[in-house]
Symmetry: C2
Subunit: 389 residues, 2 copies
């Protein structure tokens, strides 16, 4: 496959939400054809394209590109590496895979002279990662942040606007298909952590280990917390954050209290909004559907078209020294801690406090992210959020 | 110049805001070099690069690309056409030029086998037009809308938040450099009209004549209007709008009354936000600086890098029948008319009315855009705005 070739044959691995969306979106594109589909259980509507054997795809010299839509690490990793070793380009929406194996996947693509793209892995239908690397071509990306988990946003938005309990809204979200039956990865913030890692890697041309990004989730939030925020004109959203700090990167995930001046406070239901600040361009924000069959499938097909058209994509450190480590000791802002009325809290960081409904509602002085997350880990059922500066 | 060539020589026409921003942003890009600058008055800092004679650039076979930063129609049009006829790619931020001569410029580029790009001509630093055409590659763009004039947004935002008069804020904006000394093109909506034409042309792969897009400006807005909007929880923003209506396009520019649920109501000071709705991807919005030296200059350099890297861009009708005309008789919503207390107004469209401060504040039933704009043209100092459905 070279840049001038006009037709591209595609194999799709997995026919779940993203895979079936990509199958459908390909139909609106020119010169792309799905010629093989890997399925676990045969489906009558794709009888002539499907196989249960990955080798049928790896060993087919007519397949130019593999779209991985299985999800999870195994066997997705082996299939993706295998495809690249067989000279096939790869696109994926798999954030778990890209976040955990970024360097290995990048190296494999480079070694085999193929393209590896993953725009829908953070932001779903939003062309966030594509534009993030595009922006970095003649600018210095200073920070990225945003709402990248639609499940959490849906829950927080409905708690704010309808005054409902967490459990109630979660059930509602599950019925609507906005939340998984096992919602842990979303509500505990791990999904947002992965998208933070991928975004920071592209923004700062580095490789951050997942477990170096501290996470506070939304699973302990109560209607009482939301009532307190509403009274104070604040909106709570789960944000990823990453910024350049000298030769290190500050990166963390936490519920964040926003005033009405912040664009993110206007992001409703299950939508996402992701932002960068460039030294030249200033702030840029991107808003849209962060998940869903057609948005994510379409975003995957855009990556395929970019590869077919020979559009360059430079995710790795090529234009300067990459920051080498995560350091959250230089980023600070005030925090909100809602803990049990009887629980102890260090005196020094407290800026103000209310006690009511058997809870202490504490607003701290500015604390470093590392100190605040360490302190938060001492409380089992507390809800902790950062104030946006 | 072919896609594989690594180095690109650039001539910049004009060293105003955009031209000097582009000169600076080029320094952060790889393999780009400014080798000639067209100036009206020589400037000591570019002594060795500058010329006052366009032929020095057109006839220089070592120049691969011309970045037009003069603005206005003449002589920009002649220079740009000349450059393409001499086999040079062209990029421009010149909305007046692109809006008025879209077809001629596209045809000239195609005929001469060169690239013509104009991303900063609508949205400034926001990669709006690039992403609009990218989205259209495997999706049907159903509508576009947005805030594309920072001057108007700054004026409306400060009138809302500070309760100031139009004239006061305009003076303030002029002092800050957010408004021109002759602000007519901005406040009367003509700048927004041009960006609407360019966006609609790309979205719907058509060519819309400027004068077929009706415009209502913000120049007659009073502090009394803003007070009325604030009382009703509404925010006023100047929006461009264009949508597919069968085989026609509806396109218009008008001040628009938004509830707090609309993202655009959170767009403050001189920022821009532009949105598309794709059949597959759903709504996508892009937010950032719509003007200014470094944002716009950087956006122009991204267009240059895209050309250098051989990134495709298909603005013209290639994938389906293009809608052929503007028709605003099928788009309708309620309107706000603030007219003199003694002025007459047809009875039939009135939904509700207040009279105070010697003005009639009328909210209409849903009216077609064509009817409402025709009615608005009957009043000399009225302020008219559409309600966002």
């Amino acid at each position: 496959m070279n840049e001038m070739e006009m037709h591209m044959n595609i194999a799709i691995l997995g026919l779940g939400t993203v895979g079936s969306g990509a199958c459908e979106a390909v139909k609106s594109a020119i010169d792309l054809e799905v010629t093989r589909i890997l399925v676990r259980r045969p489906k009558p509507e794709y009888a002539d394209l499907q196989t249960e054997d990955i080798d049928d795809i790896l060993n087919d010299p007519n397949i130019d590109l593999v779209a991985e839509c299985i999800g999870g690490i195994h066997p997705a990793l082996e299939y993706v590496l295998g495809a690249m070793e067989h000279g096939k380009h790869v696109v994926t929406a798999n954030k778990a895979l890209v976040s955990a194996h970024f360097e290995e996947l990048e190296n494999c693509a480079r070694k085999n002279g193929v393209q590896f793209r993953f725009t829908p892995s953070a932001g779903g239908g939003i062309p966030w990662l594509y534009n993030l690397q595009r922006a970095g071509r003649c600018d210095t990306i200073e920070e990225v942040h945003g709402i990248v988990n639609g499940t959490c946003n849906y829950i927080l938005d409905l708690m704010h606007t309808k005054g409902l309990d967490f459990a109630e809204v979660l059930r509602d979200a599950q019925e609507l298909g906005y939340a998984e039956s096992d919602p842990g990865a979303d509500i505990e913030g791990w999904d947002t952590q992965r998208k933070c890692v991928i975004s920071a890697n592209l923004a700062f041309r580095t490789v951050i280990p997942e477990d170096s990004v501290p996470v506070l989730g939304i699973h302990h939030i109560l209607a009482e917390d939301i009532a307190f925020f509403n009274e104070n004109g604040l909106t709570c959203r789960l944000l990823m954050n990453a910024s350049l700090q000298g030769d290190a990167v500050s990166a963390y995930v936490e519920p964040t209290l926003l005033t009405s001046a912040a664009l993110e406070s206007g992001v409703g239901t299950n939508y996402n909004m992701v932002s960068l600040t460039g030294k030249n361009v200033g702030p840029l924000s991107f808003y849209g559907q962060g998940a869903g069959k057609m948005p994510t499938g379409t975003s995957l097909v855009h990556d395929i078209i970019d590869i077919k058209d020979g559009i360059s994509f430079s995710p790795s450190a090529s234009t300067g020294p990459a920051p080498s480590k995560v350091d959250n000791t230089k980023t600070s802002h005030p925090y909100y801690f809602r803990i049990a009325a009887g629980a102890s809290f260090p005196e020094e960081p407290i800026a103000s406090e209310q006690v009511r409904n058997s809870y202490r509602y504490i607003t701290t002085k500015p604390m470093t992210v590392s100190d605040a997350h360490a302190l938060a880990s001492r409380y089992e059922n507390a809800f902790v959020a950062g104030y946006k500066e």
